[in-house]
Symmetry: C2
Subunit: 234 residues, 2 copies
Amino acid sequence: MVNKNFNYSVSVDCVIFGYDDTNLKVLLIKRGVNPYNNYWALPGDLVHPKEGIDDAVDRVLLDLTGLDNIYTQQVKTFGDVGRHPLGRVFTISHYSLMKIDQHELSPLNINNSPSSYAAEAKWHDVQRIGELAFDHNKIFASCKAHLVQSVQNKPVGFELLPEMFTLSQLQNLYEVILERKFDKRNFRKKINSMKLLIDTGKNQKSVSHRPAKLFQFDKDKYLKLKRSGYNFEI
Amino acid sequence: MVNKNFNYSVSVDCVIFGYDDTNLKVLLIKRGVNPYNNYWALPGDLVHPKEGIDDAVDRVLLDLTGLDNIYTQQVKTFGDVGRHPLGRVFTISHYSLMKIDQHELSPLNINNSPSSYAAEAKWHDVQRIGELAFDHNKIFASCKAHLVQSVQNKPVGFELLPEMFTLSQLQNLYEVILERKFDKRNFRKKINSMKLLIDTGKNQKSVSHRPAKLFQFDKDKYLKLKRSGYNFEI
DNA sequence: TCAAAAGTGTTCTGCATACACCCATGT
DNA sequence: ACATGGGTGTATGCAGAACACTTTTGA
């Protein structure tokens, strides 16, 4: 006999952020099934019976992007009584940060996916997402706010940049996420004082202006500093 | 027929913090039923079918304390496969802040409660909680860390103090939560510069030293400032 | 040679820190 | 009178903010 207390369902949803050197982007899927057929939605899936929350998130991300090392943080759980037409579904929302150049949004990935209620996947400007399925607009807003907070006291911005990046790319990333401008010299002074970037010795190629130096984020050094009480702050 | 996808259960758990002018406290219940009979545990309950997450939290807090205006924030959802012996139960953890002097932990409240799996409720020093039921030690640690973060950039500390409080009480509260000392003059300078306290004109009574002034937190003023971009920071 | 973005220092201001003595009350 | 915690100001150092010109490359 099924216990009357065990009749809910639980899903995970991912707000996957990317950065294309100009704008902050979010990866949405277009639903190919009801409910909300043809609506854009956050990628997600039900949590399987023998699967932890993080495992479910990793699976959704792997199926969608082919990548298995995407930075992810849990944000908030949504469970309003009427949020899902088929029953009581709680969804545990997450934000994920990926290097946008690393993945191919191949139809292959999407069609192979157990999350194959998705007919299409596409990057959208975070400024220009329309009405999403379910309560996904609310979820998106919550995760976006969480990103804005995180980026100011954790070095998560680097998760959105390629392995090697210029200081201008980094500055523009912060400007786009925080919706404010920084002074170039002061920004560089600040970044420089952290001593967390490695000068790769390489330069940009084939740009029609003075080529910029390429840097890497020194994650090991950051982790050591953090263990001894250091607080990242932009 | 019960859909195979609807066979999970969801609960809320509350890490209820209080402050007794010396230590940071957490309100735990002693379980009177299995599983984990006689273990101390976080107060919580299953989310009812027609009830939102926040409603469930409010209900748990009302049943336990008789109060209905307790500051609460959702923290994190836990759902490891084996975390509950009776089935797949996800729990949405919250932290709550209350003025410790406002409530009576009457057996009445506890026995009237639908959460009457509780045989006893008691404030514990946050430093001295032993092994709790389920994965509640992990949940507690997560909520404590969240409190430490929050208290530094939101004026939530005042939720733990009586309506009127002295500057020394306030300073000690921060020292206890953040586990560091502040210089008295600098702390007061900082608090004073925020202009968020109202001098009530009243003083402490019957203390065997110079009586301290009593202040109130100006919540309305804070909310106005916040809307126009102000960021609280200690 | 022109356009475009990279790169670079100094001054000023304000906030965090460090620090020691007198005051009001109860016993 | 003494013990207890309440209450107050100044000097110093450091970090954030404002600000303009030269350099390197491709077209």
